[in-house]
Amino acid sequence: MSRRRLAASAVAAVTVSLAALLAAAPAVAETIFVSNEKDNTISVIDGATLEVTDTIDVGRRPRGITFSADKTQIYVCAGDDNRIDVIDIASRRVVDSLPSGPDPELFVLHPEGRILYVANEDDNMVSAVDVVDKVITAEIIVGVEPEGMGISPDGRLLVNTSETTNMAHFIDTETQEIVANVLVDSRPRVAQFTRDGREVWVSAEIGGTVSVIDAASREIVDKIGFEIPGIRREAIQPVGIAITEDGGRIFVALGPSNRVAEIDPQTREVVKYHLVGQRVWNLALSPDETRLYTTNGVSNDMSVIDLKNDRVIKSVGVGGAPWGVIVLP
């Protein structure tokens, strides 16, 4: 290596570490994966530089995205190909696929890591997919256009939302039967258990609210509305929900209002609105919970919110119609 090239790489190294420092310096550089619904790709973003480092080709209409239990693989719903693609994180390419039932949109992995519960949007059912044997082990009929999938921390209770039936269906994972149906506001999108498993938060896109459901009694105990000065009420469409490990901070993506609301779980009041990219859909916290990443489906980018200073620090251009986001420590 010539002396000049040595110098150049030293400069590069300094630049990188500076950039890392400037970007609120996560203790360990994380990697962010974003599914791009219109591009049929996954964007890979380096958490230190906040640059896209890779783009992985997957099946058609990728939306739901989640890690395998050991975090060596990523599962992606390829809705228009009626399958789940399996990405090997090390080689960053699709190495396998799983059956999913028709039109998989969103899924959740059982905490034990073997069963993926998949919402089959076109067929009004939830499929249970064994990721080891690669077979569908159960099909549970739910309401019209199943979408949101949440699972309790102990894995016993699965919650699916149906967008046109407007319900949160509570499913016992042991018996694979529905045990309760809770009517929520119009077009429920995401169901998210609190980390203690006591509450399920369900967003309603057209209803414009988030219902807080008691997981034991399966009753709505609170309903959170949103108001943003200068924004039409119709543009406030709650979708993605992210909850910190200690349950102290809850974030809700508000769609075409281009805002993410932070909610105080004690008072259940909005404490702040963050302005992000256009039509913000889904959210993911960084492992150390110092950052929140958002997918913005219309502006084709990902916003990065610094949660220490409560500021949006960067937008990262990704693929077409970014939908889901997950973060690898």
Binding site: N124, V144, A235
Partner: protein
């Protein structure tokens, strides 16, 4: 529109789904019998399912072949939408102990729509999805037998029905001509294409469409440079060398004062399709053809519309038309009100539909509600090109103190409806 054949790969899948569904019904019947059916506090007790009956009322049309070869001749436009709506309602009803039944009343061409409506009323049906033009619709709404019923106009765009001819038992799901014209007008003004030439067909409906366009021009600051009646009798597409006569007649017919856009009013699809690319001046065509303001189109895929298309195409084997969409929305509105009101009582459902708490998610990006002053469903209007969705109105920059959706059609201060 293209008649589509269900994907061959999916056929066994759909068949399996049906058997799953039957198994489910059997299973839930057992659960219901055991009193295990879970219900929420707001829904009716599900000890046994109650049935809500909805009639779909239409009359056979004279067969008409569309001018374009790409559109199939439909004999079930509207009906398939109502059927899907009932299927959607029933999926929800399984969880709330409500069943929905569609009674399909198709009156022959020489039959009496009024008599059919009376028979439905005698049968105890209170919800009528009316796929009817203005005149038979008015006749049905005025029947004493229909005083207790709620009729959903899913087809007639006439503004008179929302004004002097409005009725207490009539809700309008299909957008009015003024809503359509305003939706197009807002977009053209946003584009700064403000000089409009209008060419109108010979029917009263075409004249009403042209008047709605004129009104939109006045409201939004555009100018109709000339309104001309279509008086030509052009060669048919099916005749060999038919294009030769069309090619020579359309330029003559469209020699109009300078304009930015040519707006065509041809609701019966007689000539509008022939205009594009043949006009005297090189101008875009909009209105009933070209860039079309409409309740629904296959080119629309936003806000989950893809799912509705996909469900519909699987069930009907063809694309969903605007008439299918409005029939679907009417049936879904009844279902939504029944679920939310937790009641199968027609009076309770009707009250909920008109109340403040009602809203319908219908793949248009925001909740749809009924205007209290004339019973019209507030809704965004699609602006559909032949191959792509061009825009959705209301447009940015048009303001309203209440709902932006009320910038389309007759607003409260303008209505002549007195209920």
């Amino acid at each position: 529109m293209v008649r589509i054949v269900p994907d061959r790969d999916r056929r066994p899948r759909a068949a399996r789904h049906l058997s799953d569904f039957r198994r489910y019904v059997a299973r839930s019947a057992v659960a219901l019998a055991l009193g295990l059916a879970p219900v929420t506090a707001t829904t009716a007790a599900a000890a046994e399912a109650v049935t809500i009956r909805i009639a779909y009322l239409t009359q056979e049309d004279r067969p008409q072949t569309p001018v374009t070869f790409l559109e199939p001749v439909l004999t079930d436009a509207g009906l398939q939408g109502a059927r899907l709506g009932v299927a959607d309602n029933d999926s929800t009803g399984r969880f709330t102990g409500q069943r929905f039944e569609l009674v399909e009343a198709v009156v022959p061409r020489d039959g009496s729509v009024a008599e059919a409506a009376q028979a439905l009323a005698a049968d105890g049906i209170r919800f009528i999805v009316a796929d009817l033009p203005r005149s038979p619709l008015r006749e049905v709404a005025a029947l004493t037998d229909m005083a207790e019923a709620l009729i959903f106009n899913t087809r007639a765009p006439d503004d008179s029905l929302r004004n002097d001819e409005c009725a207490a038992n009539l809700l309008h799901v299909t957008p009015s001509r003024r809503m359509l014209a305003d939706a197009l007008g807002q977009y053209l003004v946003w584009k700064k294409w403000t000089r409009w030439a209008v060419i109108a067909g010979p029917t009263p409906e075409d004249a009403a469409y042209a008047e709605a366009v004129q009104r939109a021009a006045t409201r939004f600051g555009a100018t109709v440079v000339e309104r001309r009646d279509w008086t030509f009798d052009i060669g048919h597409r099916r005749v060999d060398t038919g294009h030769v006569t069309i090619q020579s007649e359309v330029p003559t017919a469209t020699q109009l004062p300078d304009h930015d856009v040519l707006i065509v009013a041809d609701e019966h699809d007689r000539f509008g399709e022939y205009l594009a690319y043949r006009t005297w001046q090189p101008r875009p065509v909009a209105g009933t053809h070209g860039l079309v303001p409409t309740a629904w189109a296959r080119v629309h895929e936003q806000w989950g519309a893809t799912q509705l298309h996909s469900r519909f195409e699987k069930a009907a084997g063809r694309w969903m038309t605007a008439r299918d969409y409005t029939a679907w929305a009417a049936v879904r509105a009844i279902g939504e009100a029944a679920t939310r009101a937790g009641s199968a009582d027609p009076a309770a459902i009707a009250a909920f539909l008109r109340g403040d708490d009602f809203s319908l998610a219908a793949f248009k990006g925001e909740a749809l509600t009924f205007r209290e002053w004339d019973g019209q469903l507030r809704q965004p209007v699609l602006l559909a090109g032949p191959r792509m969705l061009i825009s959705v109105s209301p447009q940015d920059g048009f303001l309203h103190q209440g709902s932006l959706l009320d910038t389309l059609g007759d607003d409260r201060p303008e209505t002549r409806c007195r209920l």
